[in-house]
């Protein structure tokens, strides 16, 4: 009886790991696409509306899906409470806190971190140029992430269960 229970636990754990990994693979391109949408909105707020950064970040957070909205919401709140801290530091802090909870890779985070360069301090055209540059890079990453998802998501989903079965067979 204990053996069967143990086998079920191993199968369940391996299956869950595989499923979580596959979910991350599905989520990453979606989140990268969400970030591009958010950066597009930010560019509109900065370029067309000349909206102050805390308000611009809050507006962006209302126009994108979770979990990307949380990043922009955090930045907006921190900027509003800021006691003169530069926007670049606020962006980096919030990104560091937000990234582990997302499906993104650390290299995606590095790309997003580039937004901090001159954030809120550079002239409008420079800000827009940087936003578009990052957006384009994220688009490239999204494409690669979709390819990876197509190749590996099923492998991970079935692979988890199969690995569990293999362990059970070996141990039985």
């Amino acid at each position: 009886m204990l053996k069967i229970l143990g086998a079920l636990l191993v199968l369940g754990a391996c299956g869950l790991l595989g499923w979580l990994r596959a979910k991350d693979l599905h989520s990453r391109p979606r989140q990268l696409a969400g970030l591009q949408g958010a950066l597009g909105l930010l560019a509109t707020e900065i370029g067309y509306g000349s909206t102050p950064l805390p308000q611009a970040m809050a507006n962006v957070s209302q126009g994108v899906a979770s979990p990307v909205d949380r990043l922009f919401c955090q930045v907006a709140e921190k900027l509003a409470r800021s006691q003169g801290d530069p926007a670049a530091a606020v962006w980096r802090d919030c990104l560091t806190t937000w990234l582990p909870g997302s499906a993104l890779h650390p290299s995606d985070g590095e790309e997003l971190g580039r937004l901090a360069l001159g954030l809120g301090e550079a002239p409008r055209d420079d800000q827009l140029l940087r936003i578009h540059e990052i957006k384009n890079r994220l688009a490239g990453r999204e494409e690669a992430a979709r390819d990876q998802c197509q190749k590996l998501a099923r492998v991970w989903s079935y692979g988890g269960v199969l690995t569990g079965l293999l362990i059970i067979l070996l141990v039985w």
Binding site: I46, S50, T51, P52, L53, P54, A56, L79, S82, Q83, G84, D85, P86, A87, V90, L119, G120, E121, A122, P123, R124, Q127
Partner: protein, 340 residues
């Protein structure tokens, strides 16, 4: 006999009892300015104000210069405090700009920001040029916070003299050298024209105000911080010549107002207003009525009889004192002496 600036300004609906800071919220200037200063500077200032509470009413400017003492200036003297660091200037600038320099590019180009309450912040530092024109100031190494105070009621005595027999406003030019108080007088005139003066039978009319340097309405993010009346539309930061025409075409004002006219490009806008029957209340730099003819734009306006009233103010040594009120032909109507 010259008309004097009221010692205790009061008017219909205006706040009596002297200067107030800002329009929307009647809070002490410290509550409006301190949150925009670097946290390290706040206790220094509050400490000084605790020791010298009279500065609450007499302080006119707070000057921050990198590596030099923080200065609180009154009319003629200043009080020097601890040294201001680069980080404190940067933090103050971040707070004042809301970390959004891109949203204030024109203000940086012009060299000043406006805070809630209408307080003006002059910027100094390294000027960045592009094609020979000032593009921005970076880095900013000095800030001059000019504490804004309104004097509601200063135009109380003058206002009835600017009305014709039918109770319509005369096109009026306020003339004074810098520091004479013409912008303060214009602000109160705009407020009274907009709000109306029931006791003299004048009902308020809509006023179109072009505030090119944000000195009259002191808009913060487009919202007037000074009381310019309930029927006033403000074009903030807009060049005068363009703004006057825009207001005429788009907003149908009963009266137009603007600060410091005199350039040739202003003539067309004033002429257009004249043809539309909309009186213009404006200001111009000058020591006397005769000075106007020396400026090409104003000379043309005089020739076309664009103004029916001229109000000449005394200079910086007696700010806010009206020297005389003249009619369109330059005849003295009320005041100390004839000017031309």
């Amino acid at each position: 006999m010259p008309l004097g600036w009221p010692k205790n300004p009061s008017s219909n609906g205006g706040q009596a009892g002297g200067p107030v800071s800002g329009a929307g919220e009647k809070r002490p200037w410290t509550e409006q300015i301190l949150p925009f200063m670097a946290p390290g500077l706040r206790p220094v200032l509050t400490g000084l104000l605790t020791r010298q509470p009279e500065l609450m009413t007499t302080a006119t400017e707070i000057r921050l210069r990198t590596g030099r003492p923080l200065a609180v200036c009154t009319g003629g003297t200043d009080c020097l405090l601890g040294r201001v660091t680069t980080a404190e200037i940067t933090k103050t600038l971040h707070l004042m700009s809301g970390c959004s320099v891109y949203a204030l590019e024109e203000e940086f180009r012009q060299g000043f920001l406006t805070l809630p309450g209408g307080h003006r912040v002059g910027l100094a530092g390294r000027v960045v040029l592009a094609a020979g024109q000032v593009k921005t100031i970076h880095p900013v190494s000095a800030l001059n916070i000019r504490i804004a105070r309104e004097y509601p009621g200063v135009a109380d005595q003058l206002f009835p003299q600017l009305l014709d027999q039918e109770g319509k406003i005369y096109a009026t030019l306020l003339i004074s050298p810098p520091g004479g108080g013409k912008t303060t007088l214009l602000r109160d005139l705009v407020r009274q024209v907009s709000k109306g003066r029931v006791e003299i039978g004048f009902r308020g009319v809509s006023v179109g105000l072009v505030d090119e340097r944000s000195e009259i309405a002191a808009c913060y993010r487009g919202v007037p911080q000074n009381d310019v009346g309930p029927r006033t539309d403000v074009l903030d930061g807009c060049p005068k010549s363009q703004g006057l025409l825009r207001l005429l075409r788009a907003l149908g004002p009963g009266v137009l107002a603007t600060d410091e006219i005199g350039r040739l490009e202003d003539v067309a806008a004033v002429e257009e207003a004249l043809h539309c029957g909309v009186p213009v209340i404006a200001t111009a730099h000058g020591y006397a009525l005769g000075d106007l003819a020396k400026r090409p734009g104003l000379r043309v306006m005089l020739e076309m009889q664009a103004f029916q009233r001229f109000v000449v103010l005394k200079g910086r040594h007696r700010p806010g004192t009206i020297e005389g009120v003249f009619d369109g032909a330059g005849r003295l109507l009320k005041g100390g002496q004839r000017w031309c």
